[in-house]
């Protein structure tokens, strides 16, 4: 774990006593102030960006309400926010903290306002929502209405507090001990065994990457959700046993749930409604998920790879519905399904890197 990550985790740990010690009317402003202080000490540029983008979205929503130009201003805000995220990745020498997550939170607020489901929350509410330390560096991408409901309903509950502490501790252990040390040992063991470079070896290593990704990312999510629970807030879950998914559609409902539900609500549904084509909606949503990881040709193809898997799953399901005899061994599905999902996901890296190597420079 990097030093910056450690500072953020320690800062979030210190926020827990602060959340219970501050007077009720000051608590969320106090926590937002504490988050801004920790963020500014690590990355002043990120603190400025987060505060500036909150100010921008709030001003755009206020102007949109006043001028009746919601669509144009929401589109402009989206372009600026996404553009800033794209430009930040090209900026050398600056450590950014959390822009991939807080940009999606801004877009969520902007989209809900544009659709008329949420009034302009104003700058103070935006900042209280955005500046919540446990979720700053690795999500989940929580939503404003749910967050505010949780803040309003917050009561001291000792069992919840200790359950949160336990979850945070085990989440940290999952990310550090299993995802860091144990997976490092596995890689060293594979290197010592003289694993030569080749297609099958790359496939195996890619599968190992997915296991490590799960251990680390789900561990960090548990850490964040545990710390939030210690403060009295039950935020949205990010993982629901993705390793048990029997097909790729189910996998994307269980893996990084707050990102996939964000893309469902703000990419898939609008694009499908606009084009009347769920396939185009799916392509747009999976490309958005891919490009959110990194704006590159590889991740563009990675998104299309996921579309291929989902379409193939739908076709197979339709075929089995028409010819039930094809589901010849249903008892094997709990094992064969997850193995097929893992094989497809981990095949993406060796297949796409080889495909890209064939392309002319």
């Amino acid at each position: 774990m990097t030093a910056q990550a450690l500072v953020l985790v320690l800062g979030a740990l210190l926020a827990v006593p602060l959340a219970w010690a501050l007077p009720a009317r000051m608590v969320w402003n106090g926590l937002a102030g504490w988050t801004l202080l920790v963020l500014a000490s690590l990355s002043p540029a990120s603190a400025l960006w987060l505060a500036g983008s909150s100010l921008l979205t709030t001003a755009l929503m206020a102007a949109g309400d006043r001028l009746g130009q919601r669509t144009a201003l929401a589109a402009f805000g989206t372009l600026v926010l996404v553009g800033a995220l794209g430009v930040s990745a090209l900026w050398p020498g600056i450590t950014w903290v959390g822009p991939a997550y807080f940009t999606l939170r801004h877009l969520h607020v902007l989209a809900e306002w544009w659709m008329g489901r949420l009034p302009n929350p104003g700058l103070a509410r935006q900042l209280r929502y955005q500046l919540f330390l446990p979720v700053l560096m690795a999500g989940p991408i929580h939503r404003l209405p749910h967050f505010e409901r949780q803040c309003a309903r917050r009561r001291w509950d000792a069992p919840d507090f200790f359950a949160g502490a336990e979850r945070a501790l085990f989440g940290a252990a999952q990310a550090v001990v299993l995802g860091g040390w144990l997976m490092g040992q596995a890689r060293r063991w594979l290197a010592a065994a003289g694993l030569a470079s080749g297609f099958w070896q790359d496939w195996l290593l890619s599968a190992l990457d997915w296991v490590q990704l799960y251990l680390r990312f789900a561990g960090l999510s548990s850490l964040a959700l545990g710390l939030a629970l210690m403060m009295g807030l039950r935020l949205e879950e990010n993982f629901n046993r993705p390793w048990a998914a029997r097909n790729l559609i189910e996998f994307w409902q269980r893996w990084h749930i707050t990102l996939s539900s964000w893309c469902r609500d703000y990419v898939f549904q609008p694009v499908t409604a606009l084009t009347r084509s769920p396939l185009i909606g799916l392509v747009a949503a999976m490309i958005a998920i891919g490009l959110w990881h990194q704006a590159s040709t590889y991740y563009l193809l990675w998104g299309l790879w996921q579309v291929g898997g989902i379409v193939a799953t739908r076709q197979a399901q339709a075929l089995i519905r028409r010819h039930p005899a094809l589901a010849f061994w249903p008892a094997a599905a709990p094992v064969a399904g997850p193995l097929a999902v893992m094989a497809w996901l981990s095949l993406a890296h060796p297949a796409l890197t080889r495909l890209l190597a064939l392309a002319p420079p």
Partner: protein, 52 residues
């Protein structure tokens, strides 16, 4: 009762639950403390560098 305490209570006599709980917490904390510097490569979803 935490999820671990509930699980231990199902498998251990009641008097053994608190020490077992303390032992598991202490061992986990120690393991995290000792291995926190161990890094097996990049952590893609930890957004500390401009991209996730």
């Amino acid at each position: 009762m935490t999820p671990l305490a509930r699980w231990l209570a199902r498998h251990l006599p009641p008097r053994a639950v608190p020490p077992a709980l303390v032992l598991v917490y202490a061992a986990t904390l120690l393991a995290v403390w000792l291995l926190i510097g161990e890094d097996a490569g990049p952590m893609p979803y930890l957004d500390l560098s401009g991209g996730p």
